[in-house]
Amino acid sequence: MFNPFTTHHSSDMNWALNNPNPEGKEPRTTTQSSDFYHLSAKDSPQKSRKIDFWRSGLMGFAKMQHSVAVKMNNGNNNDQVGNKKGSTFIQEHRALLPKGLILWTIIVGFISRGIYQWMDDTSKVRREEVLVSMCDQRARMLQDQFSVSVNHVHALAILVSTFHYHKNPSAIDQGTFADYTARTAFERPLLSGVAYAEKVVNAEREMFESQHNWVIKTMDTGEPSPVRDEYAPVIFSQDSVSYLESLDMMSGEEDRENILRARETGKAVLTSPFRLLASHHLGVVLTFPVYKASLPRNPTVQERIAATAGYLGGAFDVESLVENLLGQLAGNQAIVVHVYDITNASDPLVMYGNQDEEGDTSLYHESKLDFGDPFRKHKMICRYLQKAPIPLNVLTTVPLFFAIGFLVGYILYGAAVHIVKVEDDFHEMQELKVRAEAADVAKSQFLATVSHEIRTPMNGILGMLAMLLDTELSSTQRDYAQTAQVCGKALIALINEVLDRAKIEAGKLELESVPFDIRSILDDVLSLFSEESRNKGIELAVFVSDKVPEIVKGDSGRFRQIIINLVGNSVKFTEKGHIFVKVHLAEQSKDGAESKPALNGGVASEDITAASKPSSYNTLSGYEAADGRNSWDSFKHLVSSEELLTSSEFDASSNVRLMVSIEDTGIGIPLTAQGRVFMPFMQADSSTSRTYGGTGIGLSISKCLVELMRGQISFVSRPRVGSTFWFTAVFERCDKFSLKKPTVENLPSSFRGMRAIVVDAKPVRAAVTRYHMKRLGISVDVMTSLRTAVSTASGRNGSPLPSGTTKLDMILVEKDSWISTEDIDAEIRQMNSRTNGNVHRKTPKLALFATNITNSEFDRAKSAGFADTVIMKPLRASMIGACLQQVLELRKARQQHPEGSSPATLKSLLTGKKILVVDDNMVNRRVAAGALKKFGAEVVCAESGQVALGLLQIPHSFDACFMDIQMPQMDGFEATRQIRMMEKEAKEKTKLEWHLPILAMTADVIHATYEECLKSGMDGYVSKPFEEENLYKSVAKSFKANPISDSSCSQS
């Protein structure tokens, strides 16, 4: 269970939780705390290790432990339930899967076997059919041939009866017969020879023998025949069987039976097969009776015997016959044919066929043969020569079927196994997910609690530090304490961020819904970063579309937080170029993108296109931006569509979706890091945090907040070009008057109706300026060239302003435009003097916009006539207002009140006060003194800082001091610092609070000077030469802040 990772964390956490033994970096804590997790993560050591990370920390929080434990258990229960519910049929029967596969294989085997059998049977049947048909065919043919031969013998018998018996004398002798039979032998190819034997009874033997000159011999011995009843000696024979002559056919047992049977039936009669003498072939002897006289119809046996004259016999060469026959037929090689004489059923006699040649004994066919002899029975048996081969199609089909069947089964099995595996994995993942989520929730809760717990003591520490700083400390001690305080504050800020993040994740963060002014929020944010951006020399600008309602309802603090975060990031990572914050309705961006180029016609855009240089980008500062959306090309759609559509359509829905984009030209985000930008604690890379600091939590909080505001956050970034972050947020529309307390700044309304020319070659920047001026109620014409502006203003070329009016209150010049225009200073001066000379014509006041300005540039500006004011960027409506007020408002006020009520109030404020005026310039001193005296003040003058210091040695009786800044030897800042130091010393000595209000007198009107004044300990400043309004304001402010009566009391 123990791993170093765990230990490390547990010790850390326990330290944070006031573990009494912080050195106890032993696994002991781990083992102690592991019990709890065993409740839920018993079975999986791997998983529990993951949770180990948080586990030890959790131990400190008994409360949370409970809730988390419950949650974890719940999760597990759910999981199990889910397991059961989610399991499928396959899942449940997983054990049967291999059995199923075997069963399937067996079934497939059986089916294959069945198919084999079926196919085999089919082929057998076919084979049999073939055999039957072949056998029958052979038998029929054999029969036919045989009967043809028999018929020929029959015909020969008739021939003999006709020409031997019916002719007298006989027409046939042996020679004739032999000749005839030889010549007609072609008709009897199967008969090796024919012979005719005459019926000779014993009584006639003598006569017969003498007649023929030979004795009747027996067949087997060739000896003269013994005496018998009857003889059948061969008298005619074919040459091939001439050896038969004189042989008694009746001497052989079988021949005798044959002869008897033949003469009884009158039909051809066959012998049983025997080896023929000549050819040694198996053969049968055919015997045919020859009758002397014509027989009556249906003669009886007796009549037949009586009528018998002789017998014609022939040897049938059955073997040759069958051989011939088979030779004529196709397929004779394939089958084996046997012909049997089965007259004696128990002992069939082979007539044809090699007994050795068995052939395929399994299959045979018998065909009956009828050779015309009713006594004799014959049959033919056919067999295949070879055993039936297994047919090729069976050989291929069956294994193929089996293979396919088996494969299908295996595939199904594999799929099922896979499904089971995937489902198992899925359930496992689900379980892990639940655990991980629970751990995440636990982590968030832990963070929230820890942060909260840390905050309480931290606040104590900070409070104590603040109190410590109020006590008397040596400078070193003070330094230490202050450092501690700064660190503490930074820590608190960090903790707050973490807390935010954790709160959001734990779903505890709720958004407020209060009305607020977006524009002033943005101005506030801008002012936060103005110092930094000015130091870096980057342009910082904000633009809010007119369509965005003035007041919306939402969480202003969180909105501000997001913007501060994003802008802060941008400022952090941008070294040159600009940062541009743009707010518009989310719907508007679509409009802008879709609007036709025709929409943005008009003078302004023409000027702009003429002025845009191809070398620089049309962005705020001219640097390339990552996202093209803020470049002028698309921005002008926004501006122009705004002009056309302002208030023409007012969305009736109660919600308004704002899109805020923050564009910078900083270092950008490396492509590899872009994916994890919104992940907590992730920065572009670890070197980033080393170079720029920060925890990397800000963006993830912003993302969460934006999501809480029902918006989205995203960005486009190109390394070394810049990033553009944008987010949308949904706010409620809100009545303008529902904002009860006035916003921080109330823009002065005294500028309404004024006209101004803004000289700026960069259209985006000009649009931003115009936006701020518009908020002040000043209508603006943008010109790209200072020269045109000057000539327009001085009316030299007589051309009216683009807007058609000639009234012009001020010309606001961008520093770039001024610097880049050569030799314009003289013209400006000229214009100034000329217009000033003409009292009927109003002087357009000149003001310069600058991000940063060097001293020499500033002096040049002053000499060129921009002495009126230099407005430092970033622009804010309130600041422009304040600056312009210095230039314009006073004169106006004076016009409105020639005698003025303000002098009266100023008088009431200054009457009886003793004021020290410090100025090296005698004239100035006198004028200031005169002015102050006029309001009833008692004035003492000092011509240098040293003199003033002398006069202001404590205790003194002065109520206020007006201090010139630029003085030889000791300037106003230094003098003030010394005065303040004296006051501090006096306080330490006398325990009396001294604070003399010191007001700077300066001709400089830039903001920076004012800040310098405050830094050196002054309370305010009045511009030189004295103007009542200005004087009153400053005096009233500083006197209010430091009531003079108090100081005078303390002094008396």
Binding site: R829, S833, N836, G837, N838, V839, S856, D859, R860, K862, S863, A867, R891, Q895, D920, N921, M922, V923, N924, R926, V927, G930, A931, K933, K934, Q966, P968, A1003, K1024, P1025, F1026, E1027
Partner: protein, 156 residues
């Protein structure tokens, strides 16, 4: 009598306007005049005399500084110009002030020629102004002597 006064007043008004129109004076002068009341009846004159004394002194200083051939202390000249600029802007001597702004620039650029030329211009300018204002005071005096009151001139 009244007609005379009225005429004088008219003349005075026109004269003042011309001073403004020709750029001798600016708003600050008006401001200065507004500071003059019964409590300090000669405030303007007093300040102006201070101013012109200052001018004499400063121009003299500068002339001396610029006279030194070889090493001209432009810093010192600059300081003087600054003084003069402050004074002139306090009294509303617009032309002098304008010249001073130029002068200061030249001074910083250490442009000797320009400085000398400018100094001469300043010298002429303040003297011209002095004469003009002398005339103005004379007119005022005449009006007062004639029993009239010096009119407020609204330059706008």
């Amino acid at each position: 009598m009244d007609a005379h006064v009225a005429q004088l007043q008219m003349q005075y008004r026109n004269y003042i306007l011309s001073l403004y129109q020709q750029g001798f004076l600016d708003d600050q002068f008006t401001e200065l005049k507004s500071l003059q009341d019964d409590g300090s009846p000669d405030f303007v004159a007093e300040v102006l005399s201070l101013f012109f004394d200052d001018c004499v002194k400063l121009v003299g200083n500068m002339a001396r500084a610029l006279d030194q051939t070889g090493t001209v202390d432009f810093c010192q000249v600059g300081a003087n110009v600054h003084q003069l600029k402050g004074s002139s802007s306090s009294v509303g001597a617009k032309r002098v002030k304008g010249l001073c702004i130029n002068f200061k620039e030249l001074c910083e650029a250490k442009n000797y020629e320009g400085c000398v030329r400018c100094l001469q211009q300043v010298d002429i300018e303040y003297k011209t102004l002095k004469a003009k204002l002398q005339d103005m005071f004379n007119l005022e005096k005449q009006i007062v002597q004639a029993g009239g009151i010096v009119p407020q001139v609204d330059i706008n």
